[in-house]
Assembly symmetry: C2
Homo-oligomer: 207 residues x 2
């Protein structure tokens, strides 16, 4: 049996989708959560000095999205053919582009930007980015009709987007009362039995 | 036969790797290069308002990296198994992270930043980023020994990195005289017969 070890901080962050995939697939793995001290020790031997790292039988792989895509393909959550995989990949890349603008907001929160500046970031950077992103998602869901973003089964793109929608709700950028299609989507994904199980049992962390 | 149409500006930019893959595979496609006017007309009907777009038999797909990965897989340049594909994906993602810091430099050039500020961006942002990136690549090449980044055949990761090294040389961030391993890699990839052919025949554009 393959031995998987996923190394990341005690946070959801960039490891959460991979953890969800392991749980959904029912595949055993070592969910190794590190503190700053261990990270400092590991860092010189990491490919780019960053985590998450996935060890597959002691072979080290970096980059969170590449890791999640790999697990999705191994476990059958990447799409049923190469065109579905392309669409799932494109959705995840669009999410990543969106997250770039979200980063400004998060940095602002963490560095204690003034209320005035935060309001500016909210209105001038975030609102338009959220709008474009949600329009994109709505259009895909309306075309696809299965309730999933890709094809008619759950893919890692659904996990990525549902997780991010939860973040957007918490940060008050999204109210699903005003978003019928996205609301149904969010509910459908979060009600996936194995995912629900994970969301209930996962360690509670701030990020 | 599948009909492929790749829509992008008359620039290498985010479409170049896909064009290289079409040429390497000897697969016919429509290399549709648009001007600003046509882009403005297309924009409202593009998934995220951006190009490149790949049409596969009239079905529209967005996101340059997802498109290139798809073509690489279709044409046999993605790696020989899922672990090789994971490594290729991780290398491409590391390139993309690196490019984020490069963007500051490019924006500086395009917006006519003062010489003083450009020097600061060069020394404080670019130099350390370049160093980390090249160390990462060197380590992979030294471990792999085939002369390619992944396995023992050409993959799209080689194309992405070789193309970027050319850019770094042009921007004077890299002198291959000081980089034996990377110099050999760059030469090897650029001497790939079909790639050489494309580099000689492709339209000459600034970016």
């Amino acid at each position: 049996m393959v031995h998987y070890k996923l190394v990341y901080f005690n946070a959801r962050g960039l490891a959460e989708i991979s953890r969800q995939l392991f749980h959904l697939a029912g595949v055993e793995y070592e969910d190794h959560r590190i503190e700053d001290q261990e990270f400092a020790e590991l860092k010189p031997n990491l490919p780019t000095g960053q985590v998450p790292i996935l060890y597959i039988d002691n072979v080290q792989f970096s980059q969170s999205t590449a890791i999640a895509r790999y697990l999705a393909r191994k476990f059958g959550f990447a799409g049923k053919n190469t065109e579905e995989e392309l669409l799932a990949d494109a959705i995840v890349d669009t999410f990543k582009d969106f997250i770039e603008s979200f980063r400004k907001f998060v940095v602002g929160v963490l560095t204690g930007e003034s209320e005035e500046n935060m309001k500016k970031i909210r209105e001038e950077v975030m609102r338009p980015a959220v709008k474009t992103y949600l329009t994109y998602l709505n259009k895909i869901l309306e075309n696809n009709k299965s309730g999933y973003l890709v094809g008619n089964e759950l893919t890692w793109a659904d996990l990525v987007v549902a997780d991010n929608l939860t973040t957007l709700i918490t940060a008050e950028f999204l109210d699903l009362k005003n978003e019928k299609t996205l609301g149904e989507f969010h509910r459908k994904i979060l009600e996936t039995e194995k995912l629900k199980e994970w969301l209930e049992k996962r360690p509670v962390t701030r990020f």
